[in-house]
């Protein structure tokens, strides 16, 4: 198993390199970071522009620039930012901690809810519960994530106003006085700020995943070996947990891993709505400044996260399905 994981990670390296080159080239070629200097009134002196061009390496061709950037990244140096005092590596590390917290909690919430409703609506197929969750699933699937987030935020603000309390935090990933809180208080503060963005982000994935779980359950429920288990006289409960659920979880594992890129994209939007200072803001700031090194570093990290989740999914796959053993 260990050897398999190492092999998978090694195989991902060329994919990451090509993906990061495409990302780098797209960002570098689609905008000019020095445009604000050039169109400024009064215009910046030519010397300033030349110095900035040299500092950002803009005088080199795209392949050389990419090579410098890549070799730098491998040594832990993410390169110069358009904003000269902005440390890309440090910001990436800090934002990742903030955003992964949101992404992981949201994924767990979505998974748990999806498995529960998927199982229940398959076991009680065509019941009222089944129709209701199916319809709700379709509605969530059709909602833009920022729309859900804004509606949730508005509801929370109304609730807070009506009760004169701050039960729900609607702005930022932590309070202003976070640093002065006790360790326990810090945890509570972070958790409190997580609630609304997590729900907003989880609902969309939940909708799709519960549909998959339902379909997978139905397929297994109608299989011959489940009929056999029933015919042997096994308790229905035991059939469900041991025989049906274990098999029916396999497709969901794959789908979850495939969706991680979309969830990261959703996190960018959710963070924007709730004014988080995480990967979302970092990306949008970088994009706004045409900051090639920052955006390419961001995309490389996102790609790495996607690949790691896919490897985790493959390992889980082997745990759930004894027919698949990666030797």
């Amino acid at each position: 198993m260990f050897a398999y994981v190492v092999r998978r990670l090694l195989a991902a390296i060329p994919v990451l390199i090509v993906a990061s080159f495409i990302a780098y080239a797209l960002v570098a070629l689609s905008g000019d970071p020095l445009e604000p200097l050039k169109i400024r009134n009064p215009p910046a002196p030519q010397r300033t522009i030349d110095l900035e061009t040299a500092r950002l390496g803009l005088d080199e061709n795209i392949f050389v620039r990419y090579w410098h950037w890549l070799t730098g990244v491998l040594q832990g140096n993410f390169g110069e930012s358009v904003q000269s005092n902005y440390d890309i590596g440090e910001n990436l590390a800090r934002s990742t901690v903030v955003t992964l917290r949101l992404v992981v909690v949201a994924m767990l919430l979505a998974l748990i809810l999806a498995v529960i409703t998927g199982v229940l609506s398959a076991v009680r197929q065509y019941s009222k519960f089944d129709y209701a969750t199916t319809f709700l699933g379709f509605v969530f699937l059709a909602m833009p994530s920022f729309w859900i987030a804004i509606v949730l935020k508005d509801l929370a603000v109304r609730y807070n106003k009506a009760t004169g309390t701050t039960v729900f935090y609607t702005i930022g990933e932590k309070s202003q006085n976070y640093d002065s809180l006790s360790p326990f208080g810090k945890f509570g503060d972070l958790a409190g700020h997580l609630i609304l963005p997590t729900i907003a982000l989880a609902l969309i994935s939940y909708a799709a995943w519960s549909r998959y779980q339902r379909a997978a359950m139905l397929e297994v429920l109608n299989s011959d070996y489940v009929r056999l288990a029933r015919a042997k006289g096994l308790a229905w409960r035991q059939v469900l947990t041991r025989h049906v659920l274990r098999t029916a979880l396999i497709p969901l594992v794959t789908v979850t891993a495939l969706d991680i890129a979309a969830i990261l994209g959703g996190a960018v939007i959710t963070e924007t709505v709730f004014n988080w200072n995480g990967l979302g803001r970092m990306l949008l700031t970088g994009v706004g400044r045409a900051d090639t090194n920052a955006v390419a570093g961001w995309l490389l990290l996102a790609g790495l996260v996607v690949i790691i989740f896919n490897v985790i999914a493959d390992v889980l796959y082997a745990v759930l399905d004894p027919r698949i053993r990666h030797e």
Binding site: F146, A262, L283
Partner: protein, 300 residues
């Protein structure tokens, strides 16, 4: 003896022959949610394209009614400077639909060809093509699209957004089509076509793609829904459709602070996004059942 008895037996029992497309159509009609959704979707399209011709205000008109809540003169209310929200939603729906359809078209054509070629040729070419798909899928669509669109490539025209999102959508389509083609290519009729001397391009265009049409239509429908949401997300982040033009996503975005004070500005365009994505998804579901009845009708 009447002349019915004189008829040959086979004719008495004969059932009118039905074409494949007719069968699909009949099965689709039985899916009530899908048919209702299709009707609703057609109404939305008429609202977007015929509505502006009949409605007294244009989306650029500035009326004297400022920040009015919904009434008979302004069914969806007006905004701070007097735009009629219904006229704006009509224009926004038009632009959003246009972009979503273009995304679906680009993504489907590219993805279907890519998947069919990879599936038919197998081997090294397949491996290479599918790794390219992996590479595109590794990058979060919204992030890449935002990075490219932010710099106003193509001057922020509606089609530039469609091209960017379409170019990030095709890998999903190609995976589906490749899966179908992999099983189709082993069947006898492909062998027969090959024996008759058909080359690969002919096999792909005349035999594989038409037989994969069901799967392609279903995935194309679902691509329209993701396209609507993708455009909305980009416009929300401020890198999609730009003022003075408008789209549903842009309308929600610029009115997000009005959610509490003038909710009609925020909720009407949002409801149209949901309505379009919801109906399209139901239609896609109905089409999937219609094209492949054994996939969803589970017999207990």
């Amino acid at each position: 003896m009447s002349d019915t008895a004189a008829r040959p037996v086979t004719e008495t029992f004969a059932v009118r022959e039905r074409k494949q497309s007719e069968l699909v159509f009949r099965r689709f009609l039985r899916h009530r949610a899908a048919v209702t959704s299709l009707l609703l979707f057609v109404l939305v399209v008429l609202f977007a394209y015929v509505g502006p011709l009949l409605w007294k205000y244009s989306y650029t008109d500035i009326t004297d009614d400022l920040s009015r809540s919904p009434s008979l003169t302004h069914p969806f209310g007006t905004d701070l400077i007097g735009h009629d929200t219904m006229a704006q939603v009509m224009r926004g729906t038009q632009q959003s639909l246009k972009i979503a359809l273009a995304i679906a078209l680009i993504g489907t054509v590219l993805g279907a060809l890519w998947g069919a070629i990879a599936g038919l040729y197998r081997g090294r070419l397949d491996f290479l093509m599918m790794r390219i798909v992996d590479i595109v899928l590794t990058l979060p669509t919204i992030a890449v699209a935002a990075a490219v669109a932010a710099q106003g490539v193509g001057g922020s025209q509606w089609w530039s957004i469609a091209v960017i999102l379409g170019a990030l959508t095709w890998p999903y389509v190609s995976r589906v089509v490749r899966g179908v083609v992999l099983s189709l290519r082993e069947q006898e009729f492909i062998e027969a076509a090959r024996a008759l001397g058909a080359g690969n391009p002919r096999i792909i265009l005349r035999h594989l793609l038409p037989n994969a049409l069901g799967a392609i239509i279903v995935v194309a429908t679902l691509t329209i829904a993701t396209g609507i949401l993708g455009e909305a997300a980009l416009s929300f982040l401020g890198v999609g459709v730009q003022a003075p033009d408008t789209s549903l996503g842009l309308l929600v975005s610029i009115n997000r602070d009005a959610v509490n004070t003038r909710p009609w500005l925020f909720y009407f365009p949002g409801l149209f996004i949901i309505l379009i994505a919801l109906t399209i998804n139901f239609v896609g579901d109905g089409l999937r059942d219609a094209f492949d009845p054994k996939q969803t009708r589970v017999r207990q």
